[in-house]
Subunit: 260 residues, 2 copies
Amino acid sequence: MATGRTHRPATRSRGIPEATVARLPLYLRALTALSERSVPTVSSEELAAAAGVNSAKLRKDFSYLGSYGTRGVGYDVEYLVYQISRELGLTQDWPIVMVGIGNLGAALANYGGFASRGFRVAALIDADPAMVGKPVAGIAVQHIDDLEKIIEENGVSIGVIATPAGAAQQVCDRLVAAGVTSILNFAPTVLSVPDGVDVRKVDLSIELQILAFHEQRKAGEEPGVGEAVVPQTAAVRGAAAPAAGGPKGPDGDLPAVMPA
Amino acid sequence: MATGRTHRPATRSRGIPEATVARLPLYLRALTALSERSVPTVSSEELAAAAGVNSAKLRKDFSYLGSYGTRGVGYDVEYLVYQISRELGLTQDWPIVMVGIGNLGAALANYGGFASRGFRVAALIDADPAMVGKPVAGIAVQHIDDLEKIIEENGVSIGVIATPAGAAQQVCDRLVAAGVTSILNFAPTVLSVPDGVDVRKVDLSIELQILAFHEQRKAGEEPGVGEAVVPQTAAVRGAAAPAAGGPKGPDGDLPAVMPA
DNA sequence: CGATGTGAAGTGGTTCACAGCA
DNA sequence: TGCTGTGAACCACTTCACATCG
């Protein structure tokens, strides 16, 4: 429709909400599965269920991409796979470097989902001379001295940091200086980067702590809504959960020193 | 990021915003570092910088916990460490089980940040008989047949899934049936769980895809900076968009199928 | 004074509900 | 008829700005 030209609120010409961007990979994964089963079309309801979101949100998300559906029918799976891939920039090949090939780094390098779908591990880099040359996931580990050269020669703009926390900022600085503008950080530390550089972090321990918060809350709310957050509720199943070391009594009292 | 939205939003007198909860571990980490350096107090400004947020947000976050600061001075480090630990439920010991001890699972088990700070790996579980009995991170791997028994005997309420995608839902169901109410999922699949069970997911490939989106955008709008491997997918953006024909058969782009 | 704690304003995201179209 | 696409209401979180108090 020459008519089409999705009217965009003058204020935002090309802005897809961040929350929507974060869900596109989810839709893409669900769509890819459908595609492999040769399903030709899906409704927003079905796709939403497969992606674990509600259908209104999905339709709103897709509306930012354009009008890719057919009213009364649904969405063409193949077409949508392509459009989302393109929107995410996955129709091109992104070379990435991974720095820090310890337990976690090696596991990530071997992780299938990494290499697939638009990403290619251009180099594995470590500071330990003993690691250099060793093949991990079929790629020989290179020394960090060559980091800048590797990045430049491969045109890398995305880096993954899986070093110990103490080395992360230093590695980050070198990556950025060498031209990397997107970083996925697995080290449990805050990275500071100049404007224009994106950092996303994955911290296992933080995720667990968030779960613990909710878990604690569940244990405490069985009865009516009493009051206070009541610590020491331990076991959930009538099992032998450790009595826990929280000897603290009521709310907010002694600054007892906790173990680090 | 957050999952497990399915919560009874009912009368929550003691409601700490989810976004705040997600930042508490960040503050805790920064505070712990200060504590180790024997720093007695911090201002919201300093602590915010260390945690990578702005100070207004930090103060607002802390205001949900109570008035733990001193006007004109700042916050007592030790005291705050304790209060946040308690709020997060880290003053007790959470036994966790990890299912799926492949590359990633083994790496996670070895990951230091896991065991520290309130969590204890009660068991490593795998379906592969060849893995059973092998020590990983100092713990002998147990067979999944014993999953229910292990969970009950240890009073486990938090489980970590690091299996292949295909096995994840099945493992999840068994965990939940056995009494687990919080799950950290590393498998690239959507888990469905009953109400009252929290799921958080970590998906490496999704994080990379989000970075690729922003990376692509940068390449399209800025003139210079390193675009060794960056074609001009951006052209599609600015020029075509949903301008051509109808919703379908637009820019003459082929629905290229992406690899799984 | 100086930094916290917090109403109030602002922003972004979700949900509703229905108009519009195949 | 059925499902998409979307304005509008709603809600959660962030930021501002300043009263408050050690």
